[in-house]
């Protein structure tokens, strides 16, 4: 089972070029999870104690707006990472996440990984480098969405 997870983790571009010892540790923090459609994976404000690598399915990152209800800010799909609130204090989800389709993912124990990153700064740097990319991509996407580039006059 662990061997299966390790090969999944090893083959994912997010973990590419990580040394074996780090891959082994990360795999030890991972487990397979399946969520049915319309399942709330995490709720805004709850402790961010996991993050996910989506293997199949579609997840909406959403924000609850009074009078408008749940509003989807972005979707995360196959091959993408869901959740980076676990990286920075206060380690609580900034937004909620709900499946739009039945979703299969790897869930990583963020507490376990955070503790290990504090102990092993090489691992911490490798993980942080990768999450900076995720955060940077999300920031770019958010800027485009704010620009409303498909709106009138563009």
């Amino acid at each position: 089972m662990i061997h299966g997870l390790e090969s999944i983790v090893r083959e994912h571009p997010f973990f590419r070029e990580l040394p074996d010892k780090h891959l082994e540790f990360i795999t030890g923090c991972a487990k397979n999870v399946n969520f049915p459609e319309n399942h709330l994976i995490f709720r805004e404000g709850d402790p961010a104690d996991e993050f996910y690598f989506i293997r199949q399915g579609l997840v909406a990152v959403e924000l609850h707006i009074p009078s408008r209800g749940a509003t989807t800010l972005q979707t995360v799909t196959e091959g993408e990472i869901l959740g980076w609130s676990w990286v920075s204090p206060p380690y609580r989800w900034h937004f909620g996440a709900r499946t739009l389709l039945s979703t299969h993912a790897l869930a990583f124990d963020a507490n376990c990984l955070r503790t290990k990153c504090e102990e092993d700064h090489d691992l911490g740097y490798e993980i942080l480098k990768r999450f900076v990319n995720v955060i940077s991509e999300r920031l770019d996407a958010t800027r485009f969405q704010l620009l409303d580039i498909y709106g009138r006059g563009h």
Binding site: G69, T71, T72, L73, E78, L100, F144, L147, I149, Y150
Partner: protein
């Protein structure tokens, strides 16, 4: 009927390129709340329509003015033209008020075209945003009609919101085909939308195509194209296989007036479709 291999020139364009021909609106379809498609038939019933995917016409609303609009219909159809237009300025707003049976003046077709006729055996990646799907629709018709000549065909389309998605029925039909990958995303959506939300460019990293044997066709807001090109190049698609449709203030459509000058080129005459490596040094620059 296949796509012509040489740039067609209408009879009136030969006689006087500034004189429009009369066309009648045969059908009008609202695509979204501000975007409509006109099906136009020539008043001269002997006139056959011929154009290449990517070309545009100058559409003249009598008493109001003239605007360049890409041709969005099927290049294999010679009986009528289709133009999808968004109501944003004086002329297009006036055009949006026209009904079936009303007349328009048309000059064209003008400009360069998507290079698909020469790209047998390649993967085709189409990246479009907003109204930018309209100039790419003729190429999609062409690709689907000539499907066996190409390998993978991928359409990545971004729109503002679900209600702003163009050609919904056709997208559904194309998406239902096993030999065409269609990914649609929107910038914002209320609950009830079960599709993708976010920008179109991340799809490029995951799309199923072979970068060393791919031709990419882009049309949409320039900022979208800029980042799409970065993603395509990151995957290894060479600059000379990326083509994009540019938009500038085209007036005469013949390279006389200079309104659409883009570096040393004129978008109306040398474009609107450019090979990226030929404009890379000026693309995205604030001042040229």
């Amino acid at each position: 009927m296949g796509v012509a291999t040489e740039q067609p020139v209408s009879e009136s364009a030969i006689l006087d390129p500034m004189v429009p021909e009369l066309f009648r609106i045969a059908r009008r379809k609202d695509e979204t709340d501000d975007t409509f498609t006109l099906q136009l038939v020539p008043a001269d019933t002997t006139r056959k329509i011929a154009f290449l995917p990517g070309q545009f016409n100058m559409l003249y609303v009598f008493g109001v003015g003239e605007v360049p609009i890409s041709i969005s219909g099927d290049p294999a159809v010679s009986s009528h033209l289709e133009h999808t237009t968004r109501s944003v300025g004086t002329v297009t707003k006036a055009m949006g008020l026209l009904k079936s049976g009303d007349m328009l003046g048309i000059r064209g077709p003008y400009g360069s075209h998507w290079p698909v006729s020469e790209e047998d055996g390649r993967d085709i990646v189409i990246v479009s945003g907003g109204i930018g799907l309209a100039p790419l629709r003729p190429v999609l018709y062409h690709l689907m009609a000539q499907r066996a000549r190409f390998r993978k065909i991928v359409l990545l389309y971004g729109a503002r919101a679900p209600e702003d998605i163009l050609y919904k029925r056709e997208l559904e039909r194309w998406r239902g085909k096993f030999d065409l990958e269609v990914q649609v995303t929107v910038d914002r959506a209320a609950s009830g939308w079960h599709g993708n939300v976010g920008v179109v460019t991340p799809f490029i990293a995951r799309a199923p195509f072979n970068p060393s044997n791919t031709i990419a066709l882009l049309c949409g807001p320039e900022v979208m194209m800029r980042f799409a090109i970065m993603e395509l190049q990151r995957r290894g698609v060479p600059a000379d296989r990326i083509h994009l449709s540019m938009e500038r203030n085209m007036k005469c459509a013949l390279g006389y007036c200079g309104h659409c000058q883009f570096g040393s080129t004129f978008v109306c005459k040398d474009g609107p479709v450019f090979r990226f490596d030929q404009i890379a040094s000026i693309f995205g620059k604030g001042e040229i």
